[in-house]
């Protein structure tokens, strides 16, 4: 008895050893954490809107880890503060990809910061989630975008506003890529719907005094004003417009959902502002309320849970799903999963899906209306709005990877 037992045991150890040797890489991977790089602006100009993104990622990470991790592997976050500085994005994107060897990066608030790090992600063939609403058009296989894009926000907002208030539109927009491209979308949709652009004005970033602009708007016959203003300085417009009794309804794709101006400004400066957003904390659905509750349980002092927070949270869960379905963190395998076209997540903002052609995300678009007292109501909701533009224009990441950013006046098929 003893001998066979011993031999058996020895055989067992041997077999185990063999197994261990052959399975070493995958075994090591099994217990090894999945590293996620997080590059967000925790200080500087953009801090107000981006600190909450980091918290959302931390919330998602702790929930995922409590539920057993991604495919049995715990999630480890590597967080750097990029200080609203493009150079820090360049430095730290290299660092997370080269030195920290992360599996995926969640990065960027401003479009400039995204464009600063994108060449580096491409050089190292990394994978980055950009969880921000932006001007659209990035067709890059190394990027997954969960934020809303203009066709989702304006194709819903502008027709609704024109029907409600009239065909004469005045746009004021920040004088850079986001503002100019968004204004282009507004112009196009207004013309398609048979309206008139009675004015269009571009404001350099950092301008905080708007007297002339306000006067121009008052002199025009506008039925409503599309405000595509960006940054703390430009946000002074609302206070100044209100003080001058402009009294026109406003439509926007950036306010409220990002910088929670309705919480920060004194009522009624934002009264009658309409915003299309894919999430804000006021959304009264069981999933949203639950999300807000869990968020505040972990971060009780969070000033506001904005759409970028929800997008970051969704992105974490999408990544979990991608890795678990692919069985690996390898980017090509993940993209094959995306190509199946059914990567969806039912989260705080409803059901959202990744579009394989552009690697952007569909959204439920909520029309948020700011009341006199700055409370929010939702006169309209559009479900499952697709990010159709890139695909329609010929960007198909399942076929090829141009790694470029396109605009309506500079589309891919040109």
């Amino acid at each position: 008895m003893t001998l066979p037992m011993r031999t058996l045991r020895r055989a067992g150890t041997l077999a185990g050893l063999c197994l261990a040797v052959t399975a070493a890489p995958s075994l090591a991977q099994e217990g090894e954490p999945i590293k996620i790089g997080v590059l967000e602006d925790q200080s500087g100009d953009f801090a107000a809107a981006t600190n909450v993104k980091v918290h959302a990622i931390e919330l998602a990470a702790s929930e995922i880890n409590d539920a057993g991790g991604i495919d049995g592997r715990p999630v480890e976050l590597v967080i750097y503060d990029t200080q609203s500085d493009n150079r820090r994005y360049q430095e730290f994107m290299r660092r997370v990809l080269q030195a920290d060897q992360v599996d995926v990066v969640f990065a960027g608030f401003s479009s400039a910061s995204r464009e600063a790090y994108r060449p580096i992600v491409n050089q190292f063939d990394g994978l980055a989630f950009y969880n921000n609403q932006y001007e659209g058009g990035v067709c890059d296989a190394n990027m997954i975008v969960t934020g809303a894009v203009p066709e989702q926000q304006f194709s819903t907002l502008i027709p609704w506003m024109m029907e409600e208030y009239g065909p004469n539109v005045y746009t004021i927009a920040a004088d850079y890529n986001f503002g100019q491209i968004s204004a282009e979308w507004v112009r196009q949709i207004v013309e398609e719907e048979g309206g008139t652009m009675v004015g269009e004005e571009f404001i350099p970033l950092g301008v905080s005094q708007f007297s002339q602009t306000i006067q121009n708007i008052q002199a025009s016959e506008a039925d409503f004003v599309v405000t595509l203003l960006v940054g703390a300085a430009q946000a002074s417009y609302y206070e100044q417009a209100n003080a001058s009794d402009v009294n026109l309804p406003m439509a926007s794709s950036v306010n409220v959902g990002q910088g929670y101006e309705h919480k920060r400004f004194t009522p009624p400066s934002l009264a009658d502002m309409y915003v299309t957003t894919n999430y804000i904390e006021e959304i009264d659905s069981p999933a949203s309320n639950d999300f807000v509750e869990r968020f505040r349980a972990m971060f009780p002092d969070e000033p506001y849970i904005n759409q970028e927070a929800a997008n970051s949270y969704i992105a974490m869960n999408l990544y979990k799903q991608l890795v678990e379905r692919a069985g690996t963190t390898d980017h090509d395998a993940l993209r094959e999963v995306i190509a199946e076209g059914d990567v969806c997540f039912d989260g705080p903002s409803g059901n959202v899906c990744l579009d394989p052609q552009s690697q952007h995300m569909s959204h439920t678009i909520f029309l948020a209306h700011v009341n006199e007292d700055h409370s929010i109501d939702f006169p309209q909701t559009w479900e499952n709005i697709e990010p159709y533009w890139l695909g329609d224009e010929g960007c198909d990441l399942t076929q090829n990877d141009p790694s470029a950013q396109y605009t309506p006046s500079n589309p891919p098929n040109q």
């Binding site: 150079r87 400039a112 464009e115 890529n177 100019q180």
Partner: protein
């Protein structure tokens, strides 16, 4: 005396003489550091820098190369501010101009036949000429002191504001779209023609050695220039412009030339930065970006080129590690360090360290 030699020898000795004189200018009144000990340390530092990539990981090497990218702009400002006494708040204008020039040139022409190197040279030339123009405008207009700071700051802010709104498709130069505030990308990295396929210098060892060579060449070259007549006149102007003028020097010319040199060096930084990250943005010409070179130079010590060089690398590396490990407190610590430096080491940290080391050395020899 010359009659002893025939013409040919006279010419050669004069040439050799000027070469030796130039090498002799490696040390002199305008730079700290002389004698075998100093040069021994310098050689040791160069050797250490040269073998260090063999022991460090790829990111650290690339990152060190990235720090070196900025030192040219800092040394240029060191010449303009520390030696010529004109505080320029707008070196970033030349930095940005050269960065964009590199992008436009390489996107349009490509990398064949080592064109990226030519593009860098052309960008430097452009930045240098622009700086000469601004310098001519200022110094021949008798603009002095803090007014120089404001004019140069205005120049860089005008460029920033203008470039930020060039997002539309109409803003293109050939194939290259300026692309507004989001910045221009898609330019190739520095590419060196090589038998059997060009070498694209992505940040890494290759890029590091090119940078190291450039930094050493630039540093030694500036030492020779600053200890030669040109540097002496600059310092004379800084100390007392009227006296220098009375002694017969055209101070406007010297200041303009120094400013042009500073601009060209900022341009070198700009072109290399664009090649490094394949990206250039208007915000690299903004107010914060414009203040940074002044901080680097002042912290190290502006009156000595060695101090400027070392100080810049020290501040860049220090601030970056603070940001990595200090999270949100990084900026507070940075601010406090700057305050402490100004109060405790008025001449600059590196200058203070070097003078301290020298007096220790002297005491030890006694």
């Amino acid at each position: 005396m010359n009659t002893r030699y025939n013409d040919v020898t006279a010419v050669t000795t004069r040439r050799e003489g000027s070469l030796w004189r130039a090498i002799g200018h490696l040390e002199g009144p305008q730079t700290i550091g002389r004698g075998p000990l100093f040069w021994g340390l310098v050689s040791l530092a160069i050797v250490a820098a040269a073998i260090y990539p063999l022991f460090a990981d790829a990111w650290t090497v690339g990152n060190a190369a990235y720090f070196m990218v900025w030192t040219f702009m800092a040394m240029g400002l060191g010449v303009v501010w520390g030696y010529a006494g004109a505080l320029s708040f707008g070196q970033t204008a030349f930095f940005g101009l050269a960065g964009y020039a590199y992008g436009v040139l390489t996107i349009n022409i490509g990398t064949a036949y080592g064109f990226t190197i030519a593009a860098i040279l052309l960008s430097i030339l452009l930045a240098g000429l622009f700086a000469l123009l601004i310098g001519y405008f200022m110094f021949y207009g008798r603009i002095r002191g803090v007014f120089i700071g404001i004019v140069t700051l205005s120049v860089t802010l005008v460029l920033e504001t203008f470039m930020a709104q060039t997002a539309g498709p109409q803003w293109r130069i050939g194939e290259a779209r300026l692309n507004g505030f989001n910045g221009m990308s898609g330019m190739p990295p520095l590419t060196i023609p090589w038998p059997g396929g060009d070498l694209a210098l992505f940040p890494g060892r290759g890029f590091y050695y090119v940078l190291l060579g450039l930094v050493v060449a630039c540093y030694l070259g500036l030492r020779m220039l600053l200890n030669a007549r040109f540097g002496n006149v600059l310092v004379a102007i800084r100390e007392n412009p009227h006296r220098a003028e009375m002694l017969g020097y055209d101070i406007r010319l010297y200041q303009t030339l120094a400013f042009g040199l500073g601009g060209a060096l900022a341009g070198l930084s700009g072109a290399l930065y664009t090649a490094w990250g394949q990206y250039i943005t208007p915000s690299s010409m903004g107010l914060t970006a414009a203040a940074l070179p002044i901080v680097w130079v002042a912290v190290g010590g502006r009156r000595d080129i060695t101090a400027t060089l070392l100080g810049t690398i020290l501040v860049l590396a220090g601030f970056q590690s603070l940001t990595i490990y200090g999270s949100q407190y990084a900026l507070v610590v940075m601010g406090s360090l700057l305050l402490l430096t100004v109060l405790a080491a008025p001449e600059g940290l590196i200058v203070a360290a070097m003078t301290g080391a020298r007096s220790l050395w002297r005491r030890a020899r006694r």
